[in-house]
Subunit: 165 residues, 2 copies
């Protein structure tokens, strides 16, 4: 019987050990890719366009579908490959905010970290000061540097607490 499967994730999802690459614009992101010796292709541009076009984390499938505002559909396997590569570089990150596909977003300075309600599914992001306080206590209690960006901080939101008595 194998032990429980909480295996170390590849650098893809783990904390960025090399200085993270962030970008404010698509062109800056593409430049960052070139700087890493990676090529700029139409498919990569499209993935970045989708990510820059939304403020919410989106799934690989949503990216592959394209949208009516001019972002063309693309191949799902390539989308996954490109998301992985972008995550390796540090431009993108993903989170698991519930059951369902992983959700991807641009990695920005002060990346949002999530608080999700397990009853109603509502997701909100933690403010910098909330985060700072939580991280401090987690560190004090356990020595860990907490991160709520890949796995959210989960619990019962105030409304659902009220409902469940």
């Amino acid at each position: 019987m194998r032990g429980p499967r909480a295996e170390a994730e590849p650098s893809v999802t783990g904390p960025q050990l090399s200085p993270p690459v962030h970008a404010e614009t698509i062109d800056a992101a593409l430049d960052a890719l070139r700087a890493c010796g990676l090529r700029v292709s139409a498919a990569r541009r499209v993935v970045l366009e989708s990510l820059f076009a939304t403020t919410e984390p989106i799934s690989a499938e949503m990216i592959a579908e394209g949208n009516s505002e001019g972002i063309p559909r693309s191949d799902l396997a390539s989308v996954y490959r490109n998301l992985e590569m972008l995550e390796d570089v540090g431009l993108v990150r993903h989170a698991h905010l519930g059951h369902g596909p992983g959700l991807y977003a641009l990695a920005r300075e002060g990346e949002p970290e999530f608080l999700v309600c397990e009853a109603c599914g509502k997701v909100r992001s933690l403010s910098t000061s909330e985060l700072a306080r939580l991280r401090k206590v987690v560190h004090g209690v356990s020595g860990y540097r907490a991160r709520f960006s890949h796995f959210p901080l989960a619990g019962l939101c105030p409304e659902c607490q009220a409902e469940s008595g």
Copy 2:
């Protein structure tokens, strides 16, 4: 474009709204099932035996495989069905401690809640006092009642912090 998929999970994984049913022994668990109007079958006994036989959360597949100490193999689909039912009743819970299958465990009084390192994958459980402090701060900061049993509290453990500088 659908919104992000952080949908409310079914009662299965959400916090138990009706008083949770816990059991110290397999027979007590089976009695609890009968008390809920559910039937006791060989397949259900086997799922419970596997769960009672380990202290670590295990996957549905591990249960279905059986083991050399007399727990017979069983049908994976039935294992999933029974785990879901046991979770509905409150006897069992599951967690996502990394990429990979969900891991199931008996729901006990003061159920373990998890702290996982995203770099090395190590999982440890939080002590009652650690939990109490964390929950209090989370509640103060956000109003949420935190739970680290379904999604673990994730971060960088002290050793990996040292390594990554």
